[in-house]
């Protein structure tokens, strides 16, 4: 079965083997000998759960290891290499591109118990093991007057290791950058089980590991840069009668010189899904809602910047509401963070896009995508970090009643809109298996060869997270 069909049909992986439990294979037995029973999961009831990320499909692993140290990771990698099976690293598995879901039976290394975190306020740094939950870094840094800005929507759940593997962004990325921008050093275990410690001088190998979705190495620890939080933050919400007008307002505000810390957009279906969950009084009838934060050291500048955005919104036909209190602002941001899972209220499954386009192209792109959705039989919704040009068009569908191939086809056409406007396939969620087949549209053959060369150099036998990012190489058969 083709990857895309697999990706869209929950129960399409081969029927699960029945089992009465117990270590069912030599790999699980070896791992248990090396690491002890507490760190190794081998019962079917345990392994079944490590098939999935938020995309809900995948192959049941042969064994799962829950390491507590880098040494445990090394032991696990060596055992799986000896057994000749692939290795998939996994954080909280909240990803939306299939990055942490194994495509074939092998070893899953789940980092959720590697949670050691140290704050070094004098260096403005944090040292975090891969399984540290993202929000925990900021919470630990706060008493020292510091924060860790990358804030993906899943930051209460997702882990630093997973964030770095996907190079996750978040609303703060417009002004403050994405996860990779905060990495000073990385520790990783390679495909042979060797431990490496990288800084970012000489070859920026750390940069290569970040965003590589576990295909080049397993990140075990990171040294992260912390910053003092801005003194003042102000929030506004604007709503628009048309999605393109919202994108116009964004372009206009940025052209006027505003550098908001967050610029987020959600369309009508998103607003309504969130409203069903949180009951905040969001404008249900608006076609697009824009959420904006400005922040900084000087309140007058922060207010001036907010005014620039407000003027841009009004000029584009929007209606503006400023958050009266910090609490109101926090509620609005909670609304934005909940968009993605709240869409589950509309349809049980979705194909999630993660395109990034030049900001100047935003109004055209959101309108074209809206038109594609309207012309299709599916519910299509859009939201995203619009300040960065990072949009998340989502196709909502019910796999029992709707055609998975048609969903995939629509996703492909959306990807092509992005590419046609000079955009890319992924801003923060990764390519995974979901967008792997679109890579040949987005990357020229010579670049693709370079990417394959990197993969071969670091993982010659292809053991690390196989089937992700790079499309299968065409095998030429002579006639």
């Amino acid at each position: 079965m083709s990857t895309e069909k697999l990706a869209l049909t929950t129960n399409s992986s081969a029927r699960k083997p029945a089992s009465a439990g117990g270590a069912s294979n030599a790999l699980a037995a070896d791992l248990t000998r090396a690491l002890g029973p507490r760190k190794v999961l081998s019962n079917l009831s345990e392994r079944l759960n490590y098939r999935y990320d938020a995309i809900q499909f995948g192959a049941t692993p042969l064994a799962v290891v829950l390491p507590e140290s880098t040494e445990d990771v090394v032991a696990a990698v060596r055992a799986s290499r000896a057994a000749g099976v692939p290795i998939v690293g996994r954080g909280a598995a909240s990803g939306l591109s299939g990055g942490a879901a194994p495509l074939e039976p092998g070893l899953v290394i789940s980092f959720t118990r590697m949670t050691r975190l140290t704050i070094h306020p004098e260096r403005r740094e944090a040292t975090a093991q891969a399984g540290v939950v993202t929000l925990a870094v900021t919470e630990a840094a706060k008493p020292h007057g510091l924060i860790y800005p990358p804030d993906p929507a899943s930051f209460r759940t997702s882990t630093i290791g997973g964030n770095l593997a996907e190079n996750a962004g978040g609303p703060m990325c417009f002004k403050y950058g994405v996860s990779g921008d905060y990495v000073r050093a990385l520790e990783f275990v390679d495909a042979d089980g060797e431990v490496h410690r990288l800084t970012r001088d000489v070859f920026d190998l750390a940069g290569l590991l970040i965003g590589s979705e576990g295909t080049l190495g397993l990140i075990t620890e990171a040294t992260l840069r912390l910053i003092p939080p801005p003194k003042f933050t102000r929030t506004l919400m604007a709503h628009f009668p048309e999605v393109g007008a919202c994108a116009e307002a964004v372009s206009r505000a940025i052209a006027a010189g505003a550098v908001p810390s967050k610029l987020e957009f959600m369309d009508r279906a998103c607003t309504n899904a969130v409203e069903d969950y949180l009951h905040l009084g969001l404008p249900r009838d608006a076609e697009a809602v824009l959420l904006v934060d400005t922040d900084g050291e000087d309140l007058d500048t922060v207010q001036d910047e907010l005014r620039l955005v407000e003027d841009a919104c009004v000029a584009s036909g929007g209606t503006v509401r400023r958050a009266a209190t910090d609490d109101e602002g926090a509620q609005l941001w909670r609304a934005r963070r909940s968009v993605s899972p709240a869409l589950g209220r509309i349809r049980p499954q979705r194909m999630n896009e993660d395109i990034v386009v030049p900001r100047s192209a935003l109004p055209d792109v959101v309108r074209e995508i809206r038109a594609l959705g309207d012309a299709s039989p599916f519910r299509l919704v859009q939201f995203g970090h619009i300040g960065d040009g990072n949009l998340h068009p989502n196709i909502l569908f019910d796999p029992r009643t709707e055609d998975a191939h048609a969903v995939h086809d629509l996703a492909h056409r959306i990807a092509l809109v992005a590419i046609r406007h000079g955009g890319v396939l992924s801003g923060e969620h990764g390519i995974g298996s979901m967008k792997r087949d679109f890579m040949t549209d987005a990357v020229d053959p010579a670049t693709m060869q370079a990417l394959r060369g990197v993969k071969r150099a670091l993982d010659p036998s292809g053991a690390l997270n196989p089937g992700k990012i790079l499309p299968a190489e065409e095998v030429m058969v002579d006639g």
Binding site: T9, T10, N11, R15, K16, A18, S19, A20, G21, L41, N43, L44, S45, E46, L48, N49, Y50, Y52, D53, A54, I55, Q56, L66, A92, A93, S94, S110, T112, R113, T115, G131, V133, S154, R156, T157, S158, V274, D276, Y277, S338, S340, P341, A342, L343, G344, R345, P348, Q349, R350, P399, R400
Partner: protein, 425 residues
């Protein structure tokens, strides 16, 4: 989450279960809310993990015995329900699943008799009271008893108070403003009779006539949540017979677990002839704090006497109030309505204290870890008083707070209000 659950074969409860599985998008937002995930850090002991396990068992792909240990570790606290943006009714799923799977469970003779004893004693206040007294005599023997018996003994208070039967009708004082029915609860009558006495006094003082209808019994939550569905159905139907919702402005409970249980009746009877009756009943059910807060919001609450000195109260959100019933603001508002009282928030406030119905008795180790963590968090506030709205939490928190060497009083929210009215705060 896509599934092949054979809904037709499973009837009304099958629909309840399949609907919940459908709604899960496996996003993981529930993970940080889950107490067992916080302790164990593995997927099978998280809400979305348990949903996968239940789905697999219902589809026939996984033997029940393989999934059971992880499902048994679920406290049923429903913190995941609060955290879930997709609206998965997880509580309904696990309750229905336990009812469906219990008849297929294979348990040891010891485990069976322990369950039997718990399910017999909990809904029978007199029997529970006798058992508690016997337990007190056994307390000094605790160190030499098996762990399974030590857990419940640890939780018994220093002294078991005398039972205080409540009057069938408590008239309103002054002008009558309303008329409510009251569920007296089971274990709490034996362990904390003052909860009900305080409740009746506070309601009467506010001009509310309180009726304790004959024939009422246990709400059935303990039986339902441990999978004893037939037992639970008997109790549910007895209460539907005892309470006529048309006769009262509201049906009140002062125990979060019981109140949540009463509100679950329509789910329990989904697809059955009594469903309509259950809906009418559940529509009238309120927690005591919700009811009094409506008086407060309407400016009708009798003003409490100011506290004799400024007092800080650490308010503990009982899972069955905050998560199962969504009642958070009301008890805080009532406490703040007492001049001189300020309410403190507890760190990790959403994390279950580990009491969770019969969990303390069935999973003493995890329950103990959670109890210790909760007590530490509460004591970190250095509050003068600790308040909660559930007998289970009350017992658990009191036991762990004492174990950590603190004499801080642990009271029901309504007891604090009652003390204020009596000028004793």
């Amino acid at each position: 989450m896509n599934n092949d659950i054979p809904v037709q074969a499973l009837g009304g409860q099958g629909e309840v279960m399949a609907h919940a599985v459908d709604a899960c998008v496996h996003c993981g937002f529930c993970l940080p809310a889950c107490p067992t995930y916080a302790l164990l850090g593995d997927e099978m002991d998280s809400p979305r993990g348990r949903i996968v396990l239940m789905k697999e068992v219902l589809e026939g792909g996984l033997p029940l015995a393989d999934a059971a240990p992880h499902l048994d570790r679920c406290l049923g606290c429903q913190a995941c329900v609060t955290a879930c943006p997709s609206g998965v009714p997880y509580g309904e799923l696990i309750t229905a699943f336990r009812g469906w799977s219990e008849p297929q469970r294979q348990r040891s003779a010891f485990a069976r008799s322990k369950r039997w004893a718990i399910l017999k004693a909990l809904p029978a206040p007199k029997l529970f009271s006798v058992a508690a007294r016997v337990g007190q005599f056994a307390k000094p023997l605790a160190p030499v008893l098996p762990a399974a018996l030590r857990g419940p003994l640890d939780l018994l208070p220093e002294s078991v108070p005398a039972m205080q039967p409540s009057a069938k009708v408590t008239p309103a004082r002054g002008v009558q403003r309303g008329r409510v029915a009251f569920l007296v609860g089971c274990a709490q009558q034996a362990l904390a009779p003052n909860f009900n006495a305080a409740t009746l006094r506070v309601l009467a003082r506010n001009g509310i006539e309180v009726v304790i209808p004959d024939g009422q019994g246990c709400c059935g939550a303990a039986a339902l949540h441990t999978g004893a569905r037939d037992e639970a159905l008997k109790l549910v139907r007895a209460n539907l017979d005892a309470f006529n919702p048309d006769d009262f402005d509201a049906i009140l409970s002062n125990a979060a677990g019981c109140g949540a249980g009463l509100k679950e009746y329509p789910m329990v009877l989904h697809g059955e002839p009594d469903e309509t009756r259950a809906k009418a009943f559940a529509a009238k059910v309120m927690d005591i704090s919700e009811y009094l807060n409506t008086l407060l919001q309407n400016g009708e609450l009798e003003p409490p006497v100011p506290a004799s000195r400024p007092l800080t109260v650490a308010y503990h959100d009982a899972c069955h109030l905050a998560h199962a019933q969504g009642v958070r603001a009301a008890p805080r508002a009532l406490l703040r309505a007492i001049p001189g009282v300020s309410v403190l928030e507890v760190p990790e406030g959403d994390l279950c204290c580990g009491s969770a119905g019969t969990y303390n008795l069935e999973q003493p180790e995890l329950a103990g870890q959670l109890g210790a963590r909760k007590a530490k968090n509460i004591l970190s506030t250095t509050a003068d008083l600790i308040a909660s709205g559930n007998i289970g939490c009350h017992t658990q928190i009191q036991s762990h707070v004492r174990r950590q060497g603190s004499p801080t009083p642990v009271l029901h929210t309504i007891e604090i209000l009652d003390r204020a009215y009596r000028g004793e705060l």
